[in-house]
Structure formats: C-alpha cells, structure tokens
Symmetry: C2
C-alpha cells in the first residue's frame, strides 16, 4: 500500500509516519519507483506498536528505538528483550541521599529480595530505583510506608509469573517479543490505572469519620 | 534558620529553594529584616516532600503545585486528597481508537469494575486511562494480555486496602495527608521497580528453551 493508505488504516498522518522512519522506529517501505514507496501489513502492525509505546506507555522516542532494535534483532531472547524493555521504562534513580543512607537502603532492598526468594542482582534496573524510594521514605520519616514494600513485592511476584505464563503461551517468536514489550510498558500503565480505581473504592468504603481526617 | 542553612540541611541549593517559592510549592519564610528571611523546620519537611514528588515520583511542577495546594487546604479530607493526588499522577488517555472501539472497551472496564465489586464511576482518573489500554491491546489483537487485567485488578485492590490501613494508623492530619500523596506518587514507582526485579527472577527461572524463544 502507499503512504496515504497506510495513514488511513493506522490513523497516523503521513508526516508522522515519515518521522517514525527518520527516527529509526519504522523500517522504510520498498521503493517501487523514484517517487513511490510501498508499505506492507507489517508496517501497519509496527505503527500500532510504536503508538502504544509512545502515546499509551509514555516512552520517549529514544527508549522506543532501543526496545524496537531488540525486537528486530535476529538473536533476541525473551530474557534479553525483558532487560531492554525494563531499562526503557524505568526512571533512573535521582541519586538523593548521603552514602550512609544509600548503603542502609541497599541493605533493605537486598533483604526484601532475599525474603521473596528472588535470584536477582543489584544491576537490575528496578533495584536502584527502589533504593532511591527507600532513601526517600526514610528521609521523610515514613517507616510506616516502608512496611508496605513487602505487600508490593508479593503482588509484583504473582503478576510477573502470570505475565510470563501468558507470553510463554504465544506460539510465534514475534508474538512473544511483542508480548514482553507490551506487558512491561502497558502493564505498568494498566496497574497504575487500576490502583486509581481501587483506591477510590477503598477510600469511599472507610466512611465519614475517615473523610474528615 | 537562614536560607544558607536550609540549603545545607536539605541538600537543595538556595536558587532552587527560591525557585520552589516562586513556583508556589514552598511558602515564603518569615521576613525578619529588609534583607533577611527566616525558615522553619516545616520548610525542611516541605522541601523533602517536594523533592520526593518531583525527583523520585516524576511529577511536573504544575502537578506538584496542585497536590500541595490540597495538602495545605484547611478543609482537606483524605478522600479529596486522594482524588487530587490520583489526577496528578495519571497519564491522560491519548484518545486513540474509533468510537465503536472506545465503547466496547468502556463496557469491558465497567464489567471488570463490577467483577471486583468496586463502587467507582467512570470519572475516576484511572478509568479512562484503562479504557485506552484496552483499546490498544485490542488494536494489536492481544486479547491474551487483556486476560491479565483481572489479576492486576485483584492485586490493586489488595494493595489499596493495605495502603489505606497504613494511612488510617497515622495520628496527625498532616501525616495522613502526606501519606496519601506519597502512597499514590511513590507507590506507583515502588511497584514498578519491584515488577522489574520480579520479572527478571521469573524469566531467569523459566530456563533455556524459553530463553531461545
């Protein structure tokens, strides 16, 4: 199909499609004459995936480029793809706190990981982000909120197993790759959205003396 | 204390402190002479809270200002604070999809909310974000990922109850208000970080045939 048709099918304008090509997110189409390029159904699907990452998942173009490079890599693995997708969506730690506070929080996170029985090293992109959060809670004297981390960890573990089982059921390599990317990027967004809904329900149930807190 | 001391105690530079005041995030100090302003321990705490929201939670200055205005409001309630904090952290729906796709996804979300027994209306900031995610999964023919939403919802419900119980235990109104803000803003970040760690563990456990997917 030509670029006009591709734009119509995907709902993404031709200039935006050209931008995706320039930014290395979308492979160029096949040039069939000096001023005509043809696109395939694979381009339609790729544009949908790009939109999902940028507009719904909130990834930067640079992060999306990195993830798609891994999706397109011939020697990709589910484990490798997960690493790239995870790095792309994780906010880097702000690095606030003294070295002592940081070390203490590092030990807390290592303990939490041990309690969950997880065989994961501090190089994991989530690890340092979590250390920063522990430093922040402690800096604000909110040890009460620290106690919630085990509940978060338990839920994260259960969901990780469910997500992985879903991805494992997909027959094709392309489908598995895409499942890992979407599970990581949109999974965070879906869970955050559901936390908003669940919190409103829980708060409304507590009743009037809580409301006038 | 003077601004120099405030900067030293908080680790935030004097120009940044002045920026927080100009942006309406931090109340101005007490002017004790034409060129001297004094700050209190309340300013130290507020600066820590601002840093947590901006640097660790990733909120915009505008979103943080809105949340803090509610924290400072004399007629704040836990339920009202939750609404403001939730709106501040939730990505607005991109509005992708046809009206038909949107309506179908609206029905899916309403069904999911009903299955959880949640008494929440579509005006909730998470609701429309979730509709957009359902539209996106369907657009990519990933109904397999849609089936994960009930697991996410179950986890979100459990965590909301645990968070609310923690906040209810805080004796002071200020502490409750801050707990709601931090629970919402940093809770998302903590859960995302733990999902990164749990996913690496789960993926590593699946073994070699999965790796070469």
């Amino acid at each position: 199909m030509r670029i006009g048709e591709l734009a119509e099918v995907t709902g993404v304008s031709a200039p935006t499609i050209k931008y995706y090509v320039r930014e290395g997110l979308l492979p160029t189409g096949e040039r069939t004459s000096p001023n005509q390029v043809r696109y395939s159904p694979a381009h339609v699907r790729r544009i949908k995936l790009i939109r999902a990452m940028l507009e719904v998942g909130g990834l930067s173009v640079a992060a999306a480029r990195e993830v798609l490079a891994e999706v397109d890599s011939p020697d990709r693995t589910v484990h490798g793809m997960l690493g790239v997708a995870q790095s792309a969506v994780t906010r880097s730690a702000a690095g606030r706190g003294t070295p002592q506070e940081w070390e203490r929080a590092e030990r807390d996170v290592a303990e939490l990981v041990r309690r969950q029985g997880w065989a994961v090293k501090p190089a994991n992109p989530g690890w340092q982000a979590l250390v920063q959060i522990v430093v922040t809670y402690r800096d604000l004297d909110r040890d009460d909120l620290l106690t919630l981390l085990d509940a978060y960890a338990g839920a994260a573990g259960e969901l990780a197993r469910a997500e992985l089982a879903t991805v494992a059921d997909v027959p094709t390599t392309d489908g598995k790759a895409e499942g890992v990317v979407l599970g990581t990027v949109l999974g965070d967004a879906a869970l955050a959205a559901l936390r908003r809904i669940a919190a409103e329900d829980a708060s409304a149930r507590v009743g009037s003396d809580h409301r006038s807190a």
